[in-house]
Amino acid sequence: MKALRDTRHMTVRHLMALWRQPWWIAVSLVQPVIWLLLFGALFKSVTDIPGFGSTNYIQFLAPGVVVMTAFFGAGWTGMPVIDDINRGVIDRFLVSPVRRGSLISGRLASSALTTAIQSVIIVILALIVGASFSNSILGVVVLIAVSVLLGSAFGCLSIGLALLVRREETLIATVQFLLLPLSFVSVTFMQKDLMPDWMQTVSKFNPLNWAVEAGRSAVNPDPSWGAIAGKTGLLVAFLCLCGAFAVRAFRTYQRAV
C-alpha cells in the first residue's frame, strides 16, 4: 500500500512539473501532428506500389505514429533523473522512508499518462483527416496499451542508463542514436513485404515493431487477436527485462554513494 501511495505522490510531482512547462506541452502535442501530416503527405503515393495493400496511407500510418510518439517520449524519461541526481533530490528520498521502487514507477506512471493523452489526440486527428478505425474503442485501447508498454520499457532503459552514466550528454547521444534507426527498421512507414529481406529479419527483434504490428492490427478490420496477444506478451517480457535493468542500475547508484 505504501508503495502505491508513494508512486502516486511521485506521479503527481512529475505531472505538476510537466504542467508548468507550457512550451513542452505545446511541442509534445504538435510533434505527433507533424509526424502524421508530414509523413502522411510525403509518403502518400507508397499506397500506389503494387502489393502495399492499404489504400489510405493516413490510416496505415496513424497507429505507427501513436507508437512512435510513445517511444520518442519514453527515451527522454531519464533526463530529469539526472537533474534529480545533481540536485540531491534522489539522495534526499533515499534517506527518507519512501519506497525505492516509487522513484522509478512514479516516472513510468506519469509518462504512461502523458502517452495515453497524446495517443488519444493523434487518433482523433487521424479520424479528422480521413482515417477510419475498426473495432472502435477496443482497438484504440489495445493500441494505446501496447504504446504504453513499449514506452514503459524504454522509460526503464532510459532511467537505468541515466543512473549509470549520470551525464546528460551521454544520455542524449545514446537516445538520439537509437530513436530513428529503431523507428525506420519497422513497419511504421512501410509494409513489411516491401522492406529489404535483412530489414524484415531485424525488425522481428525490434520491440517498436512488435508494438506497431500489434497496434495496427487491433484497429484494422479483421484483427488477428492471436498475433496481437503474442506481440503483447513479447512487450511485457521486454518491459520486465528493462525493469530489472533499471532496478539493478538503481542499486549500482546506491552502492556508489
Binding site: H9, R87, R92
Partner: protein
C-alpha cells in the same frame, strides 16, 4: 552503547576506490538534545560520516546507532527518525516551497489537514509564508537553505543532520541561519552539524569533534578545547625564503616557555607561550641571531584555528589546500 546518546559512531571506516580513505576509524557520540559539531576542512570525511549515519552510504567497517537504531541493521527505523539537510539540498526546483514540504510529509506517511497545518507552521517559522506558493527556482540562496531545513523538519525528526548548512551563503544570511539553528537546539532536538567554519562550530556546537583525514583528532566543548591550549598563540611571518624548520627550531631552542613550534609552507611560524607578550622579544632576538628576517608578528588568545593546528598538526588553510591537490574524489553532489 549508552542509551542516552542520540548518535554513536564506532570505528567507522570507508574507502572510495584505492586512493581515498574517507573514514579511517572515526568514533564519536552525541548526547540526546544537544548540538554536536563535526569540524574539519573539506575532504576530512565529514560528509561521508553524515552519509553513513543517514543510511545513504555503507561503511566498510564499524558500527553506528542513530536515535537508538542500528544504521546497518534497521535502516528503515533510522530513516523514520531523522531529518537531513545535505550539501546539495535536494529541493525540487520546479515545484513550489509548499509542494516540496507536502511531498516530504507524504513520504513520511503524513497527510490531510494535519500536514497542511504543519506546512503553514514551518513556512511561518522560516519566514517563507509569502513565498510558499512560488517555485523554488525563483528563491534566493538563503530562502532555499531555509526551505531545506524546513523540509528536514516536516515529520518532527528526533535527530537532525545539517551538512555544511551555511556554505555558500553570504555573511548576513549565514548569521540568520545561525539564529535559526540555535533556536532548534533550544527546542531539545539533537543536531549533528558539520562545518568547516571554525566560527560556526564555536558559536553553535555545545560539543565538537575535530576531524582530520577521516579520524577524530580531538573532542570536547569549544571552550574546553581552547583551554587545553595554555597560554597564547604566537604567529611570526618570516621574510627570508631560505629559512628551514631545523634552523628555526635550533634558533628557538634557547627561548624559555615556548613550545608546539610549527613552521608552515606559507613561511609562518606558529608557537605557543605561557605569556605571549613577554616571550615575543626573546623569539625575535633568537630569530635575528640566526639571521632570519621577520615580516610580522601577532600574539593572540587561542582560537579554534589554534586547536585545529595543535591536534591536526597543520593549519586549516593548509589542510584545505592539501585536499584540493588530492586525486579527484567524489563528494557531495557526484
Amino acid at each position: 552503547m549508552n542509551g542516552a546518546d542520540a548518535i554513536e559512531a564506532v570505528d567507522l571506516k570507508k574507502a572510495y576506490g584505492e586512493d581515498v580513505q574517507a573514514l579511517d576509524g572515526l568514533t564519536f557520540s552525541v548526547p540526546a538534545g544537544t548540538v554536536f559539531g563535526l569540524l574539519g576542512p573539506n575532504g576530512a570525511g565529514k560528509s561521508t560520516t553524515v552519509k553513513v549515519l543517514t543510511t545513504l552510504a555503507h561503511p566498510d567497517e564499524g558500527a553506528a546507532r542513530v536515535a537508538g537504531f542500528d544504521v546497518l541493521g534497521e535502516p528503515a527505523r533510522v530513516r523514520e527518525s531523522i531529518g537531513v539537510v545535505s550539501q546539495a539540498g535536494g529541493l525540487d526546483q520546479e515545484a513550489t516551497g509548499r509542494e516540496n514540504l507536502r511531498l516530504q510529509g507524504q513520504v513520511f506517511g503524513m497527510g490531510g489537514k494535519a500536514l497542511e497545518a504543519r506546512i503553514d507552521e514551518l513556512l511561518g517559522q522560516f519566514g517563507l509564508a509569502d513565498a510558499g506558493d512560488r517555485l523554488v527556482r525563483e528563491y534566493s540562496g538563503g530562502m532555499r537553505r531555509r526551505l531545506d531545513v524546513a523540509q528536514a523538519l516536516v515529520h518532527k525528526p528526533r535527530v537532525l543532520f545539517l551538512d555544511e548548512p551555511t556554505t555558500g551563503l553570504d555573511p548576513e544570511v549565514r548569521s540568520e541561519m545561525w539564529e535559526e539553528i540555535g533556536r532548534l537546539a533550544s527546542e531539545g532536538l539533537t543536531v549533528l552539524l558539520t562545518t568547516h567554519y571554525l566560527e560556526e562550530a564555536d558559536k553553535l556546537a555545545a560539543r565538537l569533534a575535530i576531524v582530520d583525514k577521516g579520524r577524530v583528532v580531538a573532542e570536547g566543548t569549544p571552550d574546553g578545547l581552547k583551554r587545553e591550549l595554555r597560554g597564547d598563540a604566537i604567529h611570526v611571518e618570516l621574510g627570508s625564503e631560505s629559512a628551514d624548520e631545523a634552523t628555526i627550531r635550533e634558533a628557538l631552542a634557547r627561548v624559555d616557555g615556548l613550545d608546539q613550534i610549527i613552521y608552515d609552507e606559507n613561511r609562518v611560524l606558529h608557537a605557543r607561550a605561557e605569556d605571549g607578550a613577554r616571550t615575543v622579544p626573546a623569539v625575535l632576538a633568537a630569530l635575528e641571531g640566526a639571521a632570519l628576517a621577520v615580516g610580522s608578528v601577532t600574539v593572540a588568545r587561542p582560537s579554534l584555528d589554534d586547536v585545529y593546528l595543535r591536534f591536526a598538526g597543520r593549519t586549516f588553510g593548509a589542510a584545505e589546500a592539501d585536499d584540493r591537490e588530492r586525486p579527484a574524489q567524489r563528494k557531495g553532489a557526484h
